[in-house]
Symmetry: C2
Subunit: 215 residues, 2 copies
DNA sequence: GTCTATACAAGGATAGAC
DNA sequence: GTCTATCCTTGTATAGAC
């Protein structure tokens, strides 16, 4: 039936446009902050009339929520498995590497999330209080069990997690500072490897573990 | 003469009001971002009419610059001395402790600076490219000389500095996340000590040095 | 489903009274 | 030196044409 074809086509346009808007919005929200970003600049950047952005996302607040939801989902997909029977060195190393790759590949995701937290997490406080807190508690339990099994130095698991997060995300959030200092325009492929090795060395050594790669 | 007394009094009021406005602005800029902050909310928060804020600082952009200048100055005052004849363990430890204290004491300064960098450093790019880069280069030179003297493990000095910055500033910028995870409303006095000890242990151990305090 | 035109509100800035 | 009243721009949102 004609209606089905029409619906299909429309659905496709809708999806493409929504996607274009989401990507443009992510970039603009990073550069200007939530209030600093106008629906005009988002629609310009997406190559669509302003009214279409309202048509697809109803309001600026809802568009921002959609962007945040997208980011949190992307993060949750890359969470490394940890379990108490695993090897601490291997597990931490692969987690650190994943985080560095993610930070350098999707800096905007990290930046928007960082801005949110800095401003007091007005939109993600509930997520922090429930899902993320549960995730951290679970990982802390596993790290503690490694410590109890004598597999690693007794360090505070929570502070260890925060240290991994801060030192990896730094290369996304403070990209401008890192690159300006090094007098570079963008990261080079080899940088990911160097950063990972350095962070693995520092963090694993601090935990009394042996990193698999030399500095 | 009467004029002198008047001028003196006025000067004092001017300074007090300027200070009130700067403090209010710092808080508002953190919570709402630059564009998100209205001159109205700053003047409300400072307890003055909106026009006075314009009278003292001419424009929103200039007020923001003044806030940034204040922050950079406060930071520069606390920079620990480092020199190649000093002891790496002692020097790094005292630097880390200073940074943790500063982060927990003046989180807003760190937050505003972080937001600036995240957004691409539109207002401090010049500072990063000149003064800060020079500061980093100088410290890297000293760390490298320690390595050459065999005083510590050969790690990349620049990455070491970034690791100290990111892991300490995390407790200011991501305050909300850290506190929410721990189910706390604010940091306790003992937290500064715990965080410092943990970070000193991890970073010094990674550099092949021995921290002065146990975990 | 898409876009033009417009209503309505908020915010930066200033003129001019006090 | 201080504040009230006002101008003008920008931005969100929507009504209604196509």
């Amino acid at each position: 039936m004609t209606t089905d074809i029409k619906k299909y086509k429309s659905g496709k346009i809708r999806e493409q446009n929504s996607q274009k808007i989401l990507e443009a919005a992510e970039i603009e929200f990073v550069k200007q902050g939530y209030k600093g970003t106008s629906m005009q600049s988002i629609s310009d950047s997406a190559g669509l009339p302003k009214a279409n952005v309202h048509y697809y996302f109803k309001s600026k607040a809802k568009l921002y929520s959609a962007v945040l939801k997208d980011i949190v989902q992307r993060w949750n997909e890359v969470l490394t498995d940890m379990n108490e029977d695993g090897d601490p060195a291997e597990t931490l190393e692969s987690y650190i590497k994943n985080k560095v790759e993610l930070a350098i590949r999707y800096p905007n995701a990290s930046k928007i999330f960082a801005t949110e937290i800095i401003q007091g997490a007005p939109n993600v406080k509930e997520y922090l209080r429930t899902e993320q807190r549960a995730w951290i508690r679970e990982k802390c339990r596993i790290i503690q069990s490694w410590i109890d099994q004598g597999k690693m130095t007794p360090v505070d698991p929570e502070k260890l997690i925060f240290m991994i997060w801060s030192s990896t995300q730094h290369y996304a959030d403070f990209e401008t500072q890192v690159l300006t200092t090094a007098n570079k325009l963008e990261y080079e492929p080899a940088d990911v490897e160097h950063i990972s090795r350095f962070l693995c060395h520092m963090i694993l050594t601090g935990c009394g573990l042996t990193p698999s790669n030399p500095l």
